[in-house]
Assembly symmetry: C2
Homo-oligomer: 315 residues x 2
């Protein structure tokens, strides 16, 4: 069975939902009036990235890079975030090592939402080492993460910020943190039950950040190269953007970890450290665009518009 | 000259910027801790739209519909918002009546940003009735708008909500309101000076809402049909996503106001009234997704993920 990201939202949420622990809406639904405070002469974010010193960057481990080559040419490279969904990411690595996606396809492209790919129902036996029912790794302990607060309010989370070069929502009272569904971020397709997503079916966000998926799906990383190979595609005409005909599928030639590609051929990336001074300057600049075009800096930015700079290094 | 949406951000913002009146950053940059308050058993937003009564909808005036037919087939329909940028929209109507875009093209598609179209440098004489240097209609008086507050914090504006079926940022203290750059929203391309955009060059947002453009560009409406004809396109390889070769341009056959199309052939739309009960239920549902798939309602939604429902009516 294909794993639709969404099932049809049939009826309303009954007994099962009511049993879930959710905070009382009463006292905490209010927030105080916030006024953005624009900063004139803020740093130019592009210039900050260009001039950031070497120590502002962390290399991406080759075992955290999934390299997906398309049959038509071109490749999509995904940086994995094992600190956030370790079991799912161990699965992804095992799938890659087993050649699971060789011959798989992009079979769903839904406008302003996601591109999704995988093996669908082509294979029923999972490779050795893949956990068939991983835990719902939708959040992790806040403890152990060094979070830089974004500094602006968010519509979805009590607090947002960045940790080790990743965007996070977090809740200091509950002690939780989670990766967010920003443009280009990659999650694990699943069926209705939370333990049905192995990591074999993946999707990338190609529209406005669907942050309502946060805390409901395992986010495992982000596209760092080849984004347009996922976004600039005909939209599927079936429900949820599935392609109607298999002939519309976009074939994947093979997918490997960079660690399994000979060192001379493998791509390499580095991400800006979110605890660096450069990153703080970058966020200030994104929140206060200046230069000759902008008439008025806004004084705020949302988490998904302050995307962590990632760049290719080496050949 | 083509009008790039962005000029290269050359250096930092100097004397000219410093002279602009911006609020003091000191006292107001703080905001209180906000906790989303999830609602269990919230309405299913799709069902709300389906079942909304007739009085929850307002018809779109045919003079507020710009119908752009592509040479390859298909059409993009844009609802204009004359309450927000009246001079620019009078220009758009004059351009349409003069056949200005007949033979024009989509010449820029930048990933996670915008698709842009127009006439570029093909014509230098403007049609009769077009104001060459319209005022910077980047905001309007809050007075006269009936705003429904969204009810959740925003990263860019003191307050956000909806007025007459349009998403707005607003500032009660300054008495201003403005349309926001959400997915599918249409703005006026301009050069560096604010009075250089006539409305002849337009763009639509095809990625995560670039809200930093709010208050810096005239937003004139939104795409209500044919969005994928703008978003599902090869990305331009030149700076800012411009296509390298004219052969890559996507030709526009003609663009007319629906009011100038024979009544039997013209498309018709209606938008949900933002002061309706149905719209409040819709927003609550978008902020608290339930059903069989979601494990946890979030309890919040951002302005651009609570897109006003618009639907086609009639033939």
């Amino acid at each position: 069975m294909r794993q639709p990201l969404f099932a049809a939202l049939a009826a309303s949420c009954l007994a099962a939902c009511a049993a879930k622990p959710v905070p009382e809406p009463a006292a905490n639904a209010r927030y105080s009036f916030w006024r953005p405070a624009p900063v004139v002469d803020a740093p130019d974010p592009a210039k900050v990235v260009q001039e950031a010193p070497a120590e502002a960057w962390r290399p991406v481990d080759p075992s955290n890079l999934l390299v997906i080559e398309l049959k038509e040419g071109g490749r999509v490279v995904i940086e994995l975030a094992p600190d956030f969904a370790p079991v799912h990411i161990a699965n992804v690595r095992a799938f890659a090592k087993a050649g699971w996606w060789n011959g798989a396809a992009i079979y769903r492209v839904q406008d302003n939402y996601v591109s999704q790919w995988g093996n669908g129902d082509a294979k029923t036996e999972l490779p050795a080492g893949v956990v068939r029912q991983p835990p719902a790794e939708y959040h992790r302990d806040l403890a152990g993460l060094q979070v830089r607060p974004l500094g602006f309010p968010d519509s979805y989370a009590p607090m947002v910020g960045h940790a080790n070069g990743w965007p996070v929502g977090y809740d200091p009272e509950q002690g939780r943190a989670w990766l967010t569904h920003c443009y280009g971020y990659v999650g694990v397709g699943r069926d209705l039950a939370p333990d049905t997503g192995t990591g074999g079916e993946l999707y990338a966000v190609i529209g406005h950040a669907p942050r309502h998926l946060d805390l409901n799906i395992a986010v495992i990383g982000r596209v760092v190269e080849g984004m347009a190979l996922l976004s600039a595609r005909p939209r599927g005409t079936e429900a949820l953007g599935f392609y109607k005909e298999p002939t519309q599928h976009i074939a994947i030639a093979r997918a490997r970890l960079a660690a399994d590609i000979p060192a001379a051929e493998r791509p390499a990336f580095e991400a800006m450290r979110s605890d660096s001074l450069a990153f703080s300057q970058f966020v200030t600049g994104r929140a206060n665009r200046g230069g000759d075009f902008f008439q008025r800096p806004v004084g705020g930015v949302d988490l998904c518009n302050a995307q962590v700079p990632v760049r290719k290094i080496g050949g």
